[in-house]
């Protein structure tokens, strides 16, 4: 997995609440058997008309935000489906960090498996960062995962919480499965005990 340590980049403001996984990557793009190439269809129905032309109002179609690496979003970002195609599309587009007041559980988990950092901050902080993001390409935010801070373009800094295990996995780019396999003996022991206690499983 790609490491995430620090990031300084343009943040795109998406104040809409409940941005769901169908908006992030509509189902017609789930028919792939690969993980790559989905960035072209990120936010497809908000971003393009049926002829494939860009919808000029959409934030990522505006010149200031074409190379955004951060999204500042309204509440409950990523609600809906478990499709990991959503973080795959986000990552493939070049976004490495999403900031919101809350995330849907499965989407939040999926981000960490793909080198994307989802940051939860209180409403006041998200509102300020949203305003900062609205300044466009001149407003570059800095995320420091080790220090657990977001620094706005004017230097104002916000601290965020992150689970220590997930933080380590992101900073070191660790492979979850490899880590778990190191604990195979514990799984073997559990499995043997469980098959005694609940043989019908």
């Amino acid at each position: 997995m790609d490491k995430f340590e620090t990031l300084t980049g343009i943040a795109a403001p998406m104040p809409l609440v409940n941005i769901d996984t169908d908006m992030i990557i509509p189902k017609q793009f789930l028919k792939t058997i690969k993980r790559s190439g989905l960035g072209a269809n990120l936010f497809d129905e908000m971003r393009f008309d049926r002829q494939g032309n860009e919808i000029p109002d959409f934030v990522l179609n505006q010149d200031a935000y074409r190379s955004a690496e951060i999204i500042v979003a309204g509440d409950n970002f990523g609600c809906g489906s478990s499709r990991e195609h959503a973080p795959w599309a986000i990552k493939d587009f070049g976004i490495r960090c999403v900031i919101s007041t809350s995330f849907a559980d499965i989407f939040y988990n999926n981000c960490f498996k793909n080198g994307i950092l989802p940051i939860v901050l209180p409403e006041e902080a998200v509102d300020l960062l949203m305003k900062d993001a609205e300044k466009g390409a001149n407003a570059r935010m800095t995320i420091d995962l080790e220090a657990q801070t977001v620094t706005a373009s004017d230097g104002e800094t916000f601290s965020f919480d992150v689970d220590p295990f997930r933080k380590r996995c992101l900073i070191e780019g660790l492979d979850d499965i490899g880590l778990t396999m190191e604990k195979a003996a514990s799984i073997d022991t559990f499995e043997a005990q469980a098959s005694q206690a609940r043989p019908w499983v």
């Binding site: 104040p15 809409l16 609440v17 409940n18 769901d20 169908d22 908006m23 509509p26 189902k27 017609q28 789930l30 028919k31 792939t32 058997i33 690969k34 993980r35 129905e45 049926r50 309204g74 509440d75 409950n76 609600c79 809906g80 489906s81 478990s82 499709r83 990991e84 973080p87 809350s102 995330f103 849907a104 559980d105 499965i106 988990n109 999926n110 498996k113 793909n114 689970d163 220590p164 295990f165 979850d176 499965i177 880590l179 778990t180 396999m181 604990k183 195979a184 514990s186 799984i187 022991t189 559990f190 499995e191 469980a194 609940r198 043989p199 019908w200 499983v201």
Partner: protein
Amino acid sequence: MSPKTLYDKIWDAHVAHEAEDGTCLLYIDRHLVHEVTSPQAFEGLRMTNRKVRAPDKTIAVPDHNVPTTPGRNDPKNMTEDSAIQVAALDRNAKEFGIHYYPVSDVRQGIVHIVGPEQGWTLPGMTVVCGDSHTATHGAFGALAHGIGTSEVEHVLATQTLIQKKSKNMKVEITGKLAPGVTAKDITLSVIGKTGTAGGTGYVIEYCGEAIRDLSMEGRMTVCNMAIEGGARAGLIAPDEKTYEYCMGRPHAPKGAQWEAALAWWKTLYSDDDAHWDLVITIKGEDIAPVVTWGTSPEDVLPITANVPSADDFEGGKVGAAQRSLDYMGLTPGTPLTDIEIDTVFIGSCTNGRIEDLRAAAEILKGKKIKDGLRAMIVPGSGLVRAQAEEEGLADIFKEAGFEWRLAGCSMCLAMNPDQLAEGERCVSTSNRNFEGRQGYKGRTHLVSPGMAAAAALTGRLTDVREVM
């Protein structure tokens, strides 16, 4: 021993390893797999030379992509990309030696209907699937939730998930439901009250008389939409109805093992003095037949209400409500029952079980749907379909003017050819009314099967109590 919730008990029985920071490896008893979220996971195993650790606990069925029209066993009758995904699942199931129900098997259907039907889902189990509606299996008192594809690969390789425990929420539905009010109205009403993020960080246990009174089918409907309320999982403690449902199913225990299982299942309830981080109580009598008006499952109103205005909301929801109203093509103040529809979809893992079809048939018996309406019923599995035919329900549907389809996810998410056209308005028994969910610019109103059948008769959103 300190008192525990049902969730605490299932969790404790499945921790295979706990790190100092509380990160656990949770052992997974059943891993359900479908064709859309698994190809990359199997490919990951291949690339790293890993095997499926517990193929006997891994069950696969294609459901999302499959057409629901005759001739679908021939891949030529699928779109090319759908056929590739289904073929990939065929191949992966064979190569890794997991249980498999191909499209040609009468037991094929929506993974969350097949699991319980075949007795794979049992009380006290941990059940995961690369699909958010895995919450459905919580109806059995199983800890069940959706996972992403990386986690699918993790479970395939290790039979565990890296997890931190969620908080405990109790949702109590007291008293009796009024006539015409169903499990779907309960679950939508809860989301209407808590919002789609209200359950974030929690596992919900549904309890109370109105929940106890529900059949297993109804309980599955309630738990199915726990995810729409943001919860990791929904649970209902097992009871006699649960045991009765499970008994005799192909993969349920038999004989002495059944007795042993039953003895453990009977310990699976929340202790009286267990700690709850949040409790929500709703009176069953206060729940009306409901419908969604917007593009979030929290946009719930009684069918007797009017379309709201964006000004009725606060904060970020003002903009979202206006966007929903524009998308749905609705004018504030319009009675919901004046909204005319184009399509009716009855099916999905939320409402594609036999009881749902019986409820629809009850309303449709001897009647015809409104002229010009497109109406389809997609049974949740081949076995549900067969049973509905045996009970004469299929004839009622066909005589009423419904299309009687083969099993699959169908128009719930429109990954197969069953889709809404631009601007079409659909009354649907599924679980999500997101923008574009049932087709590009399609408009979805979520309802119970009875309400969907009622709308099919009149061609507009309809209070089921008027046609009962």
